[in-house]
Symmetry: none
DNA sequence: ATGTTTTTGATTGAATATGAATGTTTTTGG
DNA sequence: CCAAAAACATTCATATTCAATCAAAAACAT
C-alpha cells in the first residue's frame, strides 16, 4: 500500500468516527505502528487532523462550545484588528445585524457615535451598544446558558420583522469544503436567517477558525465576505479567494 | 476509550444536564473514579467546567456589571422585603413575566433553583436570571437608554407569543384615582399587555410610590394585586383595600 | 549492477495514563 | 456538637503510548 493511499484511508476513517485509536489504524492498514505514527505526524503538520494520546481526532470536533470566559481571552488582539477592519465597512445610516459572540463585541467600540441602527441577539452586545450610544434593538427568544445568545422561535419571529443592510456574523469554523460552521444548531439557524435578510453579510474569523469544522453549517463561502487577519496562511487565503470575498487586515 | 473521547463525553453530558455526579460519569465512561477526578481537574483548569463537591457543573460568570445607578437603588432594603413576599407567591412550574426595573430585579435571588420559566423585557434581569439557573426568555424590541427595558413593536409582537401564570410588574405611581402609572408610555404599554396576557398580576411598590401619579397609566387597581410593605400609611392601605388586593410585608 | 535515497519495522528508554490504596477533608444526620 | 459516611487529594505501581534511533527493505537514479 502506498503512503498516500494509507494516509487517505486514515482520513476517511476519521471522517466516519471523528476519533480513531492507533490500534484500529494498524489493523485496518496492516502497516506497523511506527509507520502510522509517522503518518499521523505528517497529517497533523498539514492540519488534516489532530493527534491525541492513543490516536487521532478531527481537528477539534468542537462538540462543546468553549465558555465565554475561555473565549474572551483568546486572540483578543487579532479579533480587535479584524473588528476594526469590519468597522470601516459600516456606513452612516446603515441598519446592521450584529451576531452574538466575542468577535462581534470587539466591533462595537469602533461604531461609537455613528448614526446607525443595530439589531442583535447577543446579551453581552447590548450594554456595549448602549455605552456606544447606538440605537439598539434586540431579537427575543430563549437565552442560551453558555453563549448568552437569544435563540429559538421567538428570535426567528423577531428577525422576520427586520431587513438589514449588513449582517456581521461570528463563526467557529471556516473551511473550503463545509463553509461557515458553528457548534449550536439553533445559533446557526439565527445566523443563517440574518444572512438571508441582509443585503451584504460579513463573517469575522481569526486565524484559528480556518480549517476548523463545527457541527452546524450556516453559510456557503460564496454567500458572505470573510474578514480576517494576515495570520491566516497564504495558501488558505488563496484557496478561499477562488470563490469567496475576503478582506484581510494586517496583524 | 481514549482520554480525549472520555473528556468530550463528560462535557456533552454536562451540556445536557448542567450538573453531573461523579458516579454518573463513572457509570457512563467505565473508567475508574481516579481517572474521572483527573479529567475533571484538567477540564476545570481549562475553564470547561466547574467542579463541585460530588461532581461538576457548567462554569458561569457574571457578565453584565450593574451600573452605578443600579447599585445605589433607593429603598433597597424595603424593595428586597417586598420582593421576598412576592417570591412566596411563585409556585413550581409557573410561567412568569418579569417586568424591567429595580424592584423586580430584587425578586430574582429568591427564585434561585425553582423550576419555573421567566420571560422578561429587562436587560439587567437577564444575567441575574441566568445566575439563578432559571430558564429565561426575552421579548425583543428597542432597548431604551435610561431603563434598559425592551419596548416597542418588537416587544409587543414577542409578548403576543406568550401566556403567563403570573406577571410581576414594577410601578412608579399608585393612586386610588389613577391606578398604576409609570413615566414612559411605551413601557406602560408593555406592562399593560403583560397583565392582559397573565392569569394573575402583581405590582411591586414601595411606600414612596403611593399617592404618586405618573404620566402613563397601565392598570386599574382592581386588575392587579399590589405587594408592598407596612411602611405605607394605614389609611392609604385601607382605602386601597376597598377594591384592590393588597399583600403587605413588615419592614 | 551499484550506490543513494526513501520508506519501513523493530527496539529502546522516556513520558503519559490508569486504577488501587492511603489518609485527609467535607458533608450529612442524629 | 459529634460521629459516620461520602467525597476528596495524594501517592504508588503498573500498563500503555510516545519519540528517537537504527538497521533492513524497497524504490530510485545513474
Amino acid at each position: 500500500m502506498l503512503t498516500f493511499e494509507r494516509q487517505e484511508l486514515i482520513l476517511s476513517m476519521l471522517k466516519e468516527q471523528q476519533t480513531i485509536k492507533m490500534q484500529e489504524i494498524v489493523d485496518e492498514t496492516g502497516a506497523s505502528e511506527s509507520t502510522i505514527r509517522r503518518d499521523l505526524k505528517e497529517l497533523e503538520q498539514s492540519n488534516k487532523l489532530k493527534r491525541i494520546h492513543g490516536g487521532a481526532t478531527l481537528f477539534q470536533k468542537k462538540l462543546v462550545e468553549p465558555t465565554i470566559a475561555e473565549k474572551t481571552v483568546k486572540n483578543r488582539h487579532e479579533k480587535r484588528l479584524i473588528a476594526q477592519k469590519a468597522a470601516e465597512l459600516i456606513e452612516e445610516g446603515d441598519c446592521l445585524f450584529l451576531d452574538a459572540g466575542t468577535s462581534t463585541v470587539e466591533l462595537i467600540p469602533f461604531l461609537k457615535g455613528k448614526n446607525i441602527v443595530v439589531v442583535t441577539n447577543g446579551l453581552t452586545n447590548i450594554s456595549e451598544l448602549l455605552e456606544a450610544e447606538i440605537e439598539t434593538h434586540v431579537v427575543g427568544g430563549y437565552v442560551k446558558k453558555g453563549t448568552r445568545a437569544f435563540v429559538g422561535r421567538g428570535a426567528i419571529q423577531s428577525l422576520e420583522g427586520y431587513r438589514f443592510d449588513k449582517a456581521i456574523i461570528g463563526a467557529n469554523g471556516i473551511s473550503i469544503q463545509d463553509g461557515c460552521t458553528t457548534p449550536d444548531p439553533e445559533e446557526a439557524f439565527i445566523k443563517e436567517l440574518a444572512i438571508k435578510r441582509s443585503s451584504q453579510s460579513y463573517v469575522l474569523a481569526d486565524h484559528t477558525k480556518f480549517g476548523e469544522i463545527s457541527f452546524s453549517k450556516f453559510a456557503d463561502l460564496n454567500e458572505v465576505t470573510i474578514i480576517t487577519s494576515n495570520q491566516v496562511e497564504e495558501d488558505m487565503i488563496e484557496q478561499l479567494l477562488r470563490n469567496t470575498k475576503v478582506e484581510v487586515t494586517p496583524a
